[in-house]
């Protein structure tokens, strides 16, 4: 039995740059003002054990979502190897897709279709019958704190938090063996956030699920994750259990005085907010 749910080995990814034949000429480089490709992942390696909640912590733009997209078979790495339960996400993507599902920070739906119509569609393309979907949904929605009666309303009538709960329901409806949660609680009100976090914990306890959780919420990471990796500038800079990470930076200080924010700062040399501010400036926000 494979105890590894996922394994990434030396993954590199570049974006942009396009093809410019002048780059083939060694002297002078690009002469049309085009920027070269930007490397967003630098030799990323990690392992996720079966049954654990593995946290990937980093600021916006650190490469978390790129990694999740690669594991979701939605983005191809430029080099390196990513395997889900031993299956290559590039060569065996169709098999991988039967084992995974994903929640992103942006709850993407057909906005004018009802929540139920959206869920029926996304359940059916995973091979579930409409009857099975209708049977499973009320329980999932109830545990997420979503009133089932509202499932027949168009998505555009629902609040951001309610839409995100539907997004979480969409993914868990298909009972994935590996769940990729890409900032599932970003932008949620505290109550919705607690509902989603409680649901994640319940699912992990009750089912044979492995969860990759990306977040920039340190409290959430500490609350939910068995092991944590810090990612900064597309590189994994530290990995361990929350306790191990604290011990690594303790230097004689009592562990209960060290929070994950401090751990992140000391291991990456920066605060999360700094990275976020830098990304916002770059994005012109």
């Amino acid at each position: 039995m494979n105890s590894l749910a996922a394994k990434a080995t030396d993954v590199n990814k570049y974006f942009g740059g396009g093809f410019d034949y002048r780059r083939l000429i060694p002297v002078g480089g690009s002469r049309n003002g085009k920027k070269g490709p930007v490397q967003v992942l630098h030799g990323v390696s990690f392992e996720i054990h079966r049954g654990e909640i593995f946290g990937l912590i980093g600021a916006n733009g650190s490469g978390k979502s790129t990694l999740v997209r690669i594991m979701s078979t939605l983005l191809l790495p430029d080099s390196g190897d990513v395997r889900i339960f031993g299956l290559d996400v590039v060569q065996e993507s169709s098999q991988v897709r039967t084992l995974i599902n994903r929640v992103s920070a942006d709850p993407s739906f057909f906005r004018n279709m009802s929540a139920l119509e959206n869920l029926l569609f996304f359940g059916r393309v995973y091979g579930l019958s409409p009857g099975k979907i209708r049977q499973r949904l009320p329980g999932i929605l109830e545990r997420l704190g979503f009133e089932f009666e509202r499932a027949s309303e168009p998505m555009s009538h629902l609040s951001r938090g309610q839409q995100q709960k539907i997004a979480v329901a969409r993914s868990f409806l298909t009972s994935p063996i590996l769940m990729l949660l890409d900032e599932p609680t970003t932008g949620l009100d505290p109550r919705s956030k607690r509902d989603v976090q409680a649901f994640i914990r319940q699912v992990r306890q009750e089912h044979d699920s492995t969860i990759l959780l990306t977040t920039h919420d340190m409290e959430e990471a500490e609350l939910l994750c068995d092991r944590i990796s810090f990612i900064a500038g597309g590189r994994i800079v530290a990995e361990g259990t929350p306790l191990e990470l604290r011990q690594r930076v303790a230097n004689g200080r009592p562990l209960n005085e060290i929070n994950m924010e401090t751990v992140f700062m000391e291991l990456t040399g920066k605060r999360l907010e700094e990275d976020e501010e830098r990304v916002e400036v770059m994005a012109g926000v």
Partner: protein, 285 residues
């Protein structure tokens, strides 16, 4: 481990896979219901377009350019041309616009990571496109015909239906091919697919016979399935030719379908990894 091997096992019988394809038909039907106002806009546009073009034939008679018999022939020639074009463009639009639409809603990533084969996915969308286009064209036909005195007594409607049925396969293949453009070019792919539609309109003898085209342009008429659909429909409705009389046209259309559908799916299957390599699946809009 058994749950993993069960999940990645080849999906059940053909009926189960067709059921996955039908999920796309249902989804598009739900969207169609929610956007009924847009449907109304396109219906009105289709009716007005059909009337505006067919009235040219009436003008030809009044201006003395054509005799009454010639003008009557021209009325039915143009009427069928505009109706067939309304049908063809609806199929092509449905298939290529849905890619743009999914990218805009952000659902394209969730659809493409579902464990459903691309062939089933694209065929499902094509089936909806064909059914939708048939309904819309029949409505345009029912509204437009009373404006003109046309004699349809000799029409072989069964043969016309067979031409549409067989021809639809090749049009769906063409639609899948043009659907690749918005997948590869998020910002201008839809416009590029409109450009291709315009070329098909020019060379296929929609409003005139292909014999009036310059020789070099007529070559393109021979490789457009729309040319044979128009020939077949006009042969069945105007000349009352039956299925047996139209066998050459039907065989040609069947051959187009046999090449274009697998060809379109193959091109899409090559384009999809490229879109994944370059990160083109992210939400736009």
């Amino acid at each position: 481990m058994s749950s993993i091997t069960d999940r990645i096992a080849v999906r059940g019988p053909i009926g189960g896979r067709l059921n996955l394809g039908w999920a796309f038909v249902e989804r598009q039907t739900n969207l169609w219901k929610r956007y009924w106002a847009w449907e109304l806009v396109w219906l009105v546009y289709g009716v007005v377009n059909t009337l505006a073009i067919t009235f040219i034939a009436e003008e030809a008679e009044q201006a003395g350019i054509a005799g009454s018999e010639g003008a009557a022939g021209l009325v039915i020639f143009l009427l069928l041309g505009t109706l067939v074009w309304a049908y063809l463009s609806a199929v092509l639009d449905d298939i290529s616009l849905v890619i743009t639409w999914e990218r805009w809603e952000g659902t394209i990533e969730h659809t493409l990571m579902a464990p459903v084969s691309r062939a089933i996915h694209l065929i499902g969308m094509s089936v909806f496109g064909v059914l939708h286009a048939i309904v819309r064209t029949l409505l345009i036909f029912a509204i437009a015909v009373p404006f003109f005195s046309v004699d349809l007594g000799q029409a072989d409607w069964f043969a016309a239906a067979v031409v549409i049925l067989v021809g639809s396969v090749s049009v769906a293949g063409l639609g899948i091919l043009t659907g690749v453009l918005p997948l590869l070019y998020p910002e201008r792919g839809t416009q590029m697919s409109f450009m291709l539609q315009a070329v098909v309109l020019l060379v296929s003898g929609v409003y005139y016979s292909v014999e009036v085209l310059p020789g070099w342009l007529r070559v393109f008429a021979y490789i457009s399935p729309a040319t044979y659909i128009l020939d077949g429909i006009r042969g069945a409705v105007i000349d009352g030719r039956g299925v047996v009389d139209l066998w050459e046209t039907l065989i040609t259309l069947a051959l187009f379908g046999a090449v274009l559908v697998p060809g379109g799916i193959a091109v899409f299957s090559v384009a999809e990894p490229w879109a994944k390599k370059t990160g083109q699946l992210k939400r736009q809009g």
